[in-house]
Amino acid sequence: MFSRFIMLGVSRRLATLLFLVMVTCITGFGLPKLRIDTGFNSLISSTDPDKPIYDRIAREFGSDNCTIVYVRDKALWSPDKLAALEKLHYQLEGLDFVERVDDLFSLRSIRGAGGKIDSRIFLPKAPTDQAAIDQARADALYNPLIEGNFVSRDGTVTALLVSVREDREDVSFDRRVNQALERILTPARSVFQEVFQVGPPRINAELKSILLDDLMKLGPLSAFVLVAAILFFLRSGFAAWVPLATSGLSIAWTFGMMGWAGIPLNILSAMLPTLVVVIGSTEDTHMMSSYFHGVSQAKEDHRGFATHCMMRHLGVPLLLTILTTALGFASNIFSSIRLIQHFAIAATFAILANGMITILFVPMVLSVMGPLRTGLFQGGNRVSGLPKLFVRMFGFTKRRFPRSILVVTAILCAFFVYQLSKLYVTNDPLSYFQKDQPLIRDTQRIHQDLSGLKIFFITLESDQEKAFQVPKNIEKLVAIQKFLKQQGIFDRSISLADHLSLVNREFHGGNPEYFTVPKRRKLVAQYLLFFHRRDLESYVSHDFRRANIVVRHNVSDSNTLNRYIGELKEVVSNIAGGQMNAHVVGENLMINAAAESLMVAQVKSLAILLFVIFLIMSAMFTSFKGGIISLIPSLIPIILMFGVMGLLEIPLNPGTAMVAVIAIGIAIDGTIHLFSRYIELCRRTSDYEEAVNITVQEEATPMVATSLALALGFGVLITSNFTVIAQFGALSAATMLFSIFANLLITPIIMLRIRLVGLHQILALSMHKEVLEKSPLFVGMSNYQMRKAILISESQEFAEGELLVEQGTVGRKMYLILSGQVDVVRRSENKSKSVAVLKAGEVFGEIGYIREAHRTADVRALTRVEVLRFDYKKLKKDLKFFPHIVANLNFNISCILGERLADVMDVMDGMGPQPEKEKHAAPEPSGDKEPLD
């Protein structure tokens, strides 16, 4: 059934074509439904316990989702500039989505002196006389809630804090807001020296814009690199065209599915085209390489023969590699971070779709229009070019210093594992941008001149009504703010305590010593009359049960932030005491906290993936040991990759977090191809080293080609405007190069030390069941064991008249006839005498197998003969790999020998019947063929 499936493209061309066209059409209709999501919500872990608390706090105290309009001008405090600033304020306030604008034209000034207390808006209207302007400037810089927050210390910069009413239903909301803000700011740029805005709408709009840029740039660029790499390695335009076609179809299917399923494009999805082109092409490259190999060997019907050869050789590895690569992506499907989850679903689908398209499309196309010539294998299986260089280099080292290589690799891995301990995580959206992006520069300017753009809340909750009119409770806010200052990492915090301290100071004529919270509850309540609810709604609930400290900062490193926040949470909880609940929350904090879950999810995904691959490989190679060993070549690149991250201080972020699982999925492909070929070759030779060499020679070209193509393809991602994608690309590329080292140097050394049998071989084995069941060699063995025993042996076919064993030669091989008949002929001087005719199920050469001796007769095929050959040396080696099977075989051989001995004794004693045929310990036939291909 499997064989039929992989050959569908050849056997049912029209149906296959129709199927591909139909699916393409259906998914194509989903393309217009595809939407882009760069919202921060997708970065927050859905399981974050702070999310409902944050939602409640944001509802009560206002969202931390604000845009800062930065205005800098040396002559800011002049009539013209203030008039322009006022105009800006009103224009912003006039936008339909703007909830409020906090700036000098809306914030409250409280100032007391000479028995007066003046509570009013800083600038109810732009003043026209210089005296009033100077007073306003002095008032602003005098107010600790304004200075360094809304006005820079030198007075040349001011900020307008724009709060918007979010419309979550409107997918283009951020773009609309950003455009509206920019429309207003554009003319203002000719008035002020510097004007810009930074906030979620701009960040999202820029993320979206860069995402589209990346989509337009990365896909074609990776396709170009791929074509160049394939042209270089396979020297065929057709070979370059095939992966482009399969990738194009896969991308269309994937985006169409995403449209239908409502999965949005996010910043990670921007690299989907590149991933599909690059990863998808590896299979195409292997297939084309195998096809060309078939073409070079075909005598007639080049296309048909080569296509069949290709699918026979690659069918199983193809399916396995698709599965393992898809698993690599799928292991992130359960990530609690929606950004990663959506990407994982899309990428898994893309890989599976690409696999299906490749299996159906490539054989179909090749069988119809595949190239009929190739210059690739003119020198037989000889490897050439860059792969040859790798093979030579690694081959030399491997032969000379196999143990040293393993030791050095182990030391190297240990060193990189140590570097891994320096690994840290970050998930800050601003860290996705390159540092030279204007957005990042602008954010830094705000941080330097005012306070950081990022906000979080510290909320204390009491069950007592008016708790935060009680001075000792307000003092708790002061204590927390004092600790924040001690931490020295956050720019500024503002609370109810600051407002009350300010009024207290002003009631005492501006004496700074009185910038303290009033000591009496009544005074607190009476000072509060100086504020409108709007002035305090971000800091205290209407019933004064809950108080909120607003903290601004500019920390982008999740690791640092999470550490400080952890410390802060502990202190806040202590200060709050048992009577109050304390929360430290913010959208920004949740995004950064997701970094922690990113790490946990990464470890989980990696563990699950490794376990699943281990199971698959164990099943594939019918051995747990085989499962473990096959993971080693995949693990080495991953360890090196993580080590490089630690060494170069590249953080684990939503992009780099996926490298390991994806790279394992891809790197295991090479291992599967190597092992599959090696197992196949092992059936035909007892010289495993030679089998390894041939495997490496054969697989080096597609492996080096695909790894380099992958490295180049991933390398394309370095040009992305997103740091996360660029880092992902760089690390993936490096991992692909590491995998060449692992697969061509380490895998052969490991392969030499193992002997595996493929499950697919066991299942696909066409067995002469009746013959084998009757054969004394397989007595007491189950069907599965028989199959495995057959696969440990070498299978050979001989034409009629062909010599299997030649008298007088020395050999340690024993034969089991599967089909046909052989004639045992003893030659003496000029006479030849047939001493026996052996048929299916019978064994010969068993004495030579046990003891080195000359063959005493020829064994010639009477008909077309199929035999299983058991080589003593090989079985001795295999004893450690398949102890149970080999022990069974040896036991049965000893039984056979025992029978023979008994027969001989009977003959010698004249007690038994004369045997119809003579049994011969056939000497080693010099004519044994050991075809390796």
Binding site: K116, R120, K522, L523, V524, Q526, H532
Partner: protein
């Protein structure tokens, strides 16, 4: 006619005339019956200008010089959370047209005794002082002009609570409007000069004046850029004497801040005795006499018998 322009004689006349009116039932009924006819004739008269309409409205409603009110202030935020304060309001128009205004908070307990004393001098200058008993025996002068200010956390500026100075504004009559079952004059008030505009913080106020009673039932406030800021509406109108009406509920809806303030008049007394001149002094407040106020001492029994939402007119002794 404005407070500023009102002469001592006029103020005295008003004050003296009031006791003689005593609301004889028959006059009230006749007055009521004549209103529609009177209103109809007014409507027909196109000679009414914005200014004359305002003059008439002020003449009818704003001139009683001695008022005491017990108020409940309900502050409602955008989430419909409510804060309730109780206060007493005393106002007095002096013969020289000086208007004195005292607001004393009684509830909640923490702000009991907080007082705002505002005096509008005949020149138009407003002098206001605040007294916080918890701070100590000191009155702090506060800014007289509103300039976008909020009066003790409400949505009213001090000027919204006192009568406007008609001479400071230019009134333009707009097309009459019918809202519900009543016809309204629509009069727009523009500050006469930028300084007034800056001081008030309003570029335009649009009054809706009920044509049958010449009472400003609604005022829409706009900023100097013509953007709608807030709306004051008067509810539960009661005729309190002759052609004079008063609202027992005043709602200010602040569109910009998404906040509302409802002032509910629980009790209103028009009496000289309730607003003795000495209570509008710093000493009165600093000695905390406002906390155990005269009216409470003198009329405690009356309060208890009247209950809430009653309007009472008292003669001068």
């Amino acid at each position: 006619m404005s407070w500023k322009r009102m002469s001592r004689r006029q103020a005295g006349l008003t004050a003296n005339r009031w006791p003689h009116t005593r609301l004889p039932g028959i006059l009230l009924i006749l007055g009521l019956l004549s209103l529609p006819v009177f209103s109809k004739s007014l409507l027909a008269d196109e000679t009414w200008t914005g200014r004359t309409i305002m003059d008439e409205a002020f003449k009818r409603h704003e001139l009683f010089p001695y008022v005491f009110e017990k108020q409940t202030m309900i502050l409602i935020d955008s989430a419909e959370n409510r804060d309730v304060r109780k206060a007493r309001r005393f106002s007095r128009v002096e013969p020289d047209a000086t208007v004195k205004y005292l607001l004393i908070f009684d509830h909640p307990a923490e702000i009991r005794g907080v007082a705002l004393l505002a005096i509008r001098h005949p020149s138009g200058r407003i002098e206001s002082k605040i007294y916080l008993p918890a701070f100590g025996k000191e009155l702090k002068s506060t800014a007289g002009k509103s300039r976008g200010n909020h009066f003790l956390g409400t949505d009213f500026a001090i000027e919204d609570l006192t009568a406007e100075v008609l001479s400071d504004f230019r009134y333009v009559r707009k097309t009459d409007d019918k809202i519900g079952k009543f016809l309204y004059f629509v009069v727009e008030a523009f500050p006469k000069d930028p300084e007034i505009e800056r001081d008030t913080g309003y570029g335009l106020r649009r009054h809706f004046i009920r044509q049958d009673i010449f009472y400003i039932v609604r005022t829409d406030y706009y900023d100097p850029r013509g953007r709608f800021l807030k709306r004051r509406t008067c509810h539960d109108l009661k005729m309190v004497g002759g052609t004079m009406w008063r609202a027992n509920m005043i709602l200010m809806e602040n569109n910009k801040e998404q906040h509302k303030t409802l002032i509910k008049i629980n009790q209103r007394v028009f009496s000289h005795d309730y607003v003795p001149p000495e209570m509008f002094t710093s000493e009165w407040l600093l000695e905390n006499r406002h906390v155990q106020s005269t009216e409470k001492r003198l009329f405690q029994d009356t309060f208890e018998s009247l209950g809430e939402n009653d309007t009472e007119l008292k003669d001068s002794p």
